[in-house]
């Protein structure tokens, strides 16, 4: 014990301090400025759509709004996520963190939580934008509009997977390669269902390889319910449960990989 009664903090506190610092970094680096671009895009689209389309304004606003929420978030998740570990190693800011009573896995989880928190806050403000645009074009809310919350929930689950993947790649490769890997997986993941269908049609080794790849890449196509929600089609409760467990499991696996690599990495 030292003179100040310094004591080893509970693990949860250390993780939350790292997470809140990560969030603060994103805010100070003006990441949330993307909200301005989002607001301009959505308000412009709402005004334009209100003038040129008949009966389908709502459909267009929901589709455009939620797709923008997803894309803006994905870009943020990739571009912050890839630097979370590698930037700290490169700039050596990690040295004064890991020389304190902080375990390496706590650092990874803290960073992940901070980025996930940033994306949740960002999505929250974007969601407000989507609802305001919706109110502007349809002048009232109906019960089916609550389905938008499900789409937003799926988008956030998608972000968790992307953040974890970006962190995984960031724990062993350069920011550029991490960005390429993560973005590639995001693109391929959106066609995961097509990959599965392709595998089912093939035979022999091609079938095995395609099946393996189809189940290895994140199945983002299962998270995309924007079009059906825009058409006011309900989402099955089972899909919500399946997607929740799938996203948590996938993110956990990617994070475990990141921790495993980072736990054994020399910080030169």
């Amino acid at each position: 014990m030292t003179n100040f009664g310094v004591k080893t903090l509970p693990m949860k506190s250390r993780i939350s301090h790292i997470a809140s610092n990560t969030f603060r970094e994103a805010v100070r680096d003006r990441v949330l400025y993307n909200l301005i671009a989002f607001a301009l895009l959505l308000s412009g689209a709402a005004i334009l759509v209100g003038q040129i389309s008949i009966e389908i304004e709502k459909l267009v606003v929901i589709n455009l709004g939620l797709t923008a929420v997803s894309l803006f978030g994905v870009v943020i998740a990739i571009f912050i996520g890839i630097g979370l570990v590698s930037k700290e190693i490169e700039k050596r800011t990690l040295y004064t963190v890991l020389s304190r009573p902080v375990r390496r896995w706590e650092f990874i989880i803290g960073k992940f939580s901070g980025l996930a928190g940033t994306l949740v806050v960002n999505t929250f403000f974007m969601a407000i934008g989507v609802f305001l645009a919706l109110l502007y074009v349809s002048h009232k809310f109906v019960k089916a509009d609550s389905l938008i919350f499900v789409a937003l929930y799926f988008i956030i689950l998608e972000f968790l997977i992307i953040c974890a993947l970006a962190l995984l790649f960031s724990s062993f490769s350069s920011p550029l390669l991490s960005a390429v890997f993560t973005f590639s997986l995001f693109v391929v993941g959106n066609f995961a269902q097509d990959l599965r269908n392709f595998a089912a049609m093939e035979h022999g080794i091609t079938r095995w390889l395609a099946t393996g790849a189809a189940y290895l890449v994140p199945n983002f196509s299962a998270f995309n319910v924007i079009t059906s929600i825009a058409h006011e089609q309900p989402v099955a409760g089972q899909l919500i449960v399946t997607n929740t467990f799938y996203a948590l499991f996938y993110a956990l696996m990617a994070l475990s990989g990141a921790v495993l690599i980072f736990e054994h990495r020399d910080l030169k």
Binding site: T2, N3, F4, G5, V6, K7, T8, L9, S13, R14, H17, I18, N21, R24, E25, R28, D29, K91, R92, T93, L94, Y95, T96, V97, L98, S99, R100, P101, V102, R103, H264, D266, L267, K268
Partner: protein, 314 residues
């Protein structure tokens, strides 16, 4: 109980594209630093000083060996709460202010919330950054960042402080302040382990030093022992502008310095004759001191010896 025990820590890196070449950064190192000591870890650039510190901080993993700090396994988080570390050329989260950064590190180190703010203020005063505590670190100069680095290393009042090149980037005033701070830490009973290649700092501050070269320990000892090799000569200084012939006759090596002082190196057995000669010439004696090997001379000799041993084995 020793504050630091390094028990055969060794580091070999795999280098090259296929990582097949092996490069040894540190040969098995045995070193003990006693509680309350100021210990200097000396060596030229690339000697293995930073590697040793990184191993002790758990930033790189040893190929073999272990260490104990304050009697506990060095990787134990409980130990890390009681150590402070200043990396070489530190870099911090530049979007934070000095106050925010220290508060964050205080949180991670487990400084209780009710004392944290007061302690941060104290440390900022101590390193002379209180006036700029609200400025983002991206606007700080190299010397100011070094001060922040020192502040974060002592913030949680650690028992053992590791400083990697603490004087680097500081102006003479800053260096003096760091020396004072290290003396204060010693006075408070802390153990200070610092690496440097500036020998005068080590000579002034350290109780003991170790010399490392090309990853191998070349010598450890008390500074006074290493520098007290009396070479059988004394240095005599007196006030004067010329060298009397009777003094020259004693075979003294004389130089006029500063315009009105004469400095002479003379054999120890000629010391009394020298004093008598100066009295006869009515010269005003200023000092007589034994000639000692400086730490620098010891250091250079050790390195030369290491180089010649390496050359003879090739």
């Amino acid at each position: 109980m020793p504050a630091i025990e390094i028990l055969g820590l060794e580091k070999t890196y795999s280098v090259g594209f296929w990582r097949k070449r092996r490069k040894r950064a540190l040969y098995p190192l045995q070193l003990t630093v006693e509680d309350g000591e100021v210990f200097g870890f000396l060596g030229p650039n690339g000697a293995g000083k930073t590697t040793t510190l990184k191993l002790l901080m758990g930033l790189v993993f040893p190929t073999s060996g272990t260490a104990r700090i304050l009697g506990q396994e060095w990787t134990d988080p409980a130990v890390k709460a009681q150590i402070g570390f200043l990396p070489e050329q530190p870099y911090f989260y530049d979007y934070l202010t000095a106050h925010e950064l220290l508060n964050y590190y205080g949180q991670l180190s487990g400084v209780p919330a009710r004392q944290r703010s007061k302690r941060v203020e104290e440390v900022l005063h101590q390193v002379g950054l209180h006036d700029v505590k609200g400025l983002q670190l991206r606007k700080f100069s190299k010397g100011m960042l070094q001060r922040v680095g020192i502040a974060q290393a002592i913030l949680h009042d650690p028992q053992v402080v590791f400083l990697d090149e603490p004087m680097s980037g500081l102006d003479p005033m800053g260096r003096r302040e760091v020396r004072d701070l290290m003396e204060q830490l010693k006075h408070e009973g802390k153990t200070v382990f610092f690496s440097t290649h500036i020998l005068s700092d080590a000579e002034t501050l350290c109780d003991r030093v170790a010399i490392i070269h090309k990853g191998e320990l070349r010598g450890v000892g008390v500074v006074e022992d290493l520098t007290s090799t009396v070479q059988g000569k004394v240095e005599v200084i007196w006030q004067g502008t010329e060298i009397p012939a009777s003094v020259r006759a004693l075979g003294a090596d004389c130089h006029i310095s500063g315009g009105d002082r004469v400095r002479a190196i003379v054999a120890e057995n000629q010391q009394d004759a020298m004093i008598d000669a100066l009295r006869r010439e009515h010269q005003r004696l200023i000092s007589i001191t034994p000639v000692r090997t400086s730490l620098e001379a010891y250091f250079v000799e050790k390195l030369r010896h290491a180089e010649s041993t390496a050359a003879s084995t090739v």
